[in-house]
């Protein structure tokens, strides 16, 4: 990859990577750090990463950097810790996207990550598996469970909107 290609990658993918991370951890400053770390890693490996594969490399690196940070901050959560996804009915929502954005925060990290990769970036199961280090079946299961949880949340809220 040339310097021009590297800088073009910044233009093309920095926003998407940032969006993916900030939606995952809901912390803009930490998300910025992760994006900077990710692009620093890309710069170091620039000679080994082709421009065609750079998007996948960036998302994969950002994802694993995020997981490391979460682990360091001991914020990793299991499914059990989330408990009930029953929405708090005293919240006021104006539209469905707000409900959905609220719901996505409440599902387990791994389910959220795979759904965001799927919906935001349109990655296939196989691509998501490569980025997250899971296998394809696991990706499908996490998406399935995530959608179930989101649907349950939306189902309750739709009545209120």
């Amino acid at each position: 990859m040339t310097v021009e290609q590297y800088n073009k990658s910044v233009d093309l993918y920095a926003d998407a990577v940032y969006r993916f991370i900030v939606k995952n951890i809901n912390h803009p400053d930490e998300a910025k750090d992760i994006v900077q770390d990710t692009f620093e890693k890309l710069w170091i490996k620039a000679s080994d990463v082709s421009f065609e594969k750079v998007k996948s490399y960036l998302f994969s690196t950002a994802y694993h950097t995020m997981i490391d940070k979460i682990r360091k901050n001991k914020r990793i959560s299991s499914v059990d810790e989330y408990g009930s996804l029953d929405p708090l009915h005293d919240n006021q929502y104006s539209d469905l996207s707000e409900v959905l954005n609220e719901a996505i925060k409440k599902i387990p990290d791994i389910q959220r990550s795979v759904i965001l990769l799927r919906d935001y970036e349109g990655y296939s199961y196989q691509e998501i598996a490569e980025i997250t280090g899971l296998n394809e079946s696991q990706v499908k299961v996490y998406i399935y469970r995530g959608r179930m949880a989101l649907k349950k949340y939306i189902g309750s809220m739709e009545v209120l909107i």
Binding site: M1, T2, V3, Y6, N7, V10, D11, A14, D15, A16, V17, Y18, R19, V22, K23, K32, V35, Q36, F39, W43, A46, S47, D48, L96, S97, L100, I104, I115, L116, R118, D119, Y120, E121, I143, Y144, G146, R147, M148, L150, K151, I154, G155, E158
Partner: protein, 359 residues
């Protein structure tokens, strides 16, 4: 059972009705029935108890049949189907079938709609504010693609260095050999004089000076073995006596006692002085080897290797591995007694093993 009586007739009856009796048993049974008309009547009532065949039809049989895989999923896990629909995992035909199948079911339609609402849209208003900081100027130099070439060139250099500089035995042993060879020459010359003075009859036996010298050296070897260190002794074994030039005898200048004293005192004093010095001071090569072991290889516990060139080669390999990320190895192989037997050199491109004999 070959005999029928009133105690076992029921079994015979059952077998008869099932058609399991042999012809001989049937004859026996008929004979028994003739003698017992009441039981004959009982058997007839059994024969009348046949249940007439009726035709039953399960009217919903068709509904149990599966028209497609989708139908099965529709019944078993509707949620899974809705998610597959949302994810775009269904074929066009399956999609249409699903839509048609839930057309009249409001609840199912609502469920499908909810799943479709879980699809998130990227919020494009979220942007990374410090994009300029991420950008770089300059050039990207890929050293990695040259690493294999560098490693290969370095391997060849090490190979050459090993070939030319690593001795088959240690430098010290070579020094011993040289030193002892010179000493032996001196001993041989002096002893010959001694023999010629004290035993003139030997000369009369027409032995050549060389033969006499061999004998003398052999005698001297035995004597030295008892007095000096085993290391020196081993070296002596490997010495080939040097040819000794005949020296004119001078009876007046040398006496037997003087010569013996001269040989023993001078030679042994010489050895003792040399090795005492060596124990007290390190020569340059030993110092280098020591330094490489301690500072570069950082292996103080490892057996100190007196071979300077081997250590330098190891240091080079270590450095090349660090720079290039390659996996070149240069190691000594030890036998059961802990003595170095071989040097093994291994790279991606070449590998060899050379025997060494280090005492």
């Amino acid at each position: 059972m070959t005999e029928v009586n009133r105690n076992n007739y029921e079994v015979f009856f059952m077998d008869y009705l099932d058609g399991n009796l042999s012809s001989s048993q049937e004859v026996i049974l008929q004979s028994f029935l003739e003698k017992n008309p009441d039981l004959k009547q009982e058997l007839k009532t059994f024969e009348k108890l046949t249940i007439p065949e009726e035709s039953f039809h399960f009217e919903e049989k068709q509904s149990l049949k599966k028209s497609s895989y989708l139908n099965n999923r529709l019944r078993s896990n509707f949620d899974e189907l809705c998610i597959a629909y949302t994810e775009g995992d269904l074929t066009k035909k399956e999609k249409l079938l699903l839509e048609a199948s839930i057309k009249n079911f409001a609840e199912k339609k609502s469920t499908l709609k909810k799943y479709q609402h879980t699809k998130m849209q990227a919020d494009t208003s979220v942007i990374f504010p410090e994009k300029k900081k991420l950008k770089k100027s300059g050039i990207i130099i890929s050293l990695k693609k040259y690493y294999s070439s560098i490693a290969l060139a370095a391997s060849v250099l090490i190979l050459i260095a090993l070939y030319f500089f690593i001795p088959k035995t240690s430098d010290k042993v070579n020094q011993d050999k040289v030193m002892l060879s010179n000493t032996q020459s001196e001993i041989a010359v002096k002893k010959e004089v001694d023999v010629q003075i004290s035993a003139p009859h030997s000369i009369a036996e027409n032995k050549t000076p060389a033969e006499q010298t061999k004998k003398i050296v052999s005698t001297k070897e035995t004597r030295q073995e008892t007095k000096i260190t085993p290391r020196i002794t081993d070296s002596i074994h490997s010495i080939t006596p040097l040819p000794v030039r005949p020296i004119k005898q001078n009876k007046n200048s040398l006496q037997l006692a003087d010569v013996n004293t001269l040989i023993s005192n001078k030679t042994l004093n010489y050895f003792q002085q040399e090795y005492a010095q060596e124990a007290e001071y390190m020569n340059l090569k030993s110092f280098l080897a020591e330094s490489v072991n301690e500072r570069v290889l950082k292996d103080n516990t490892q057996e100190k290797n007196n071979s300077v060139w081997f250590n330098i080669a190891q240091w080079s390999v270590h450095g090349i591995n660090r720079i290039t990320g390659s996996n070149i190895s240069l190691e000594k192989e030890y036998n059961q007694d802990g003595e170095a037997e071989k040097i093994n050199f291994h790279t991606k491109f070449i590998a060899f093993s050379t025997p060494i004999k280090e005492k």
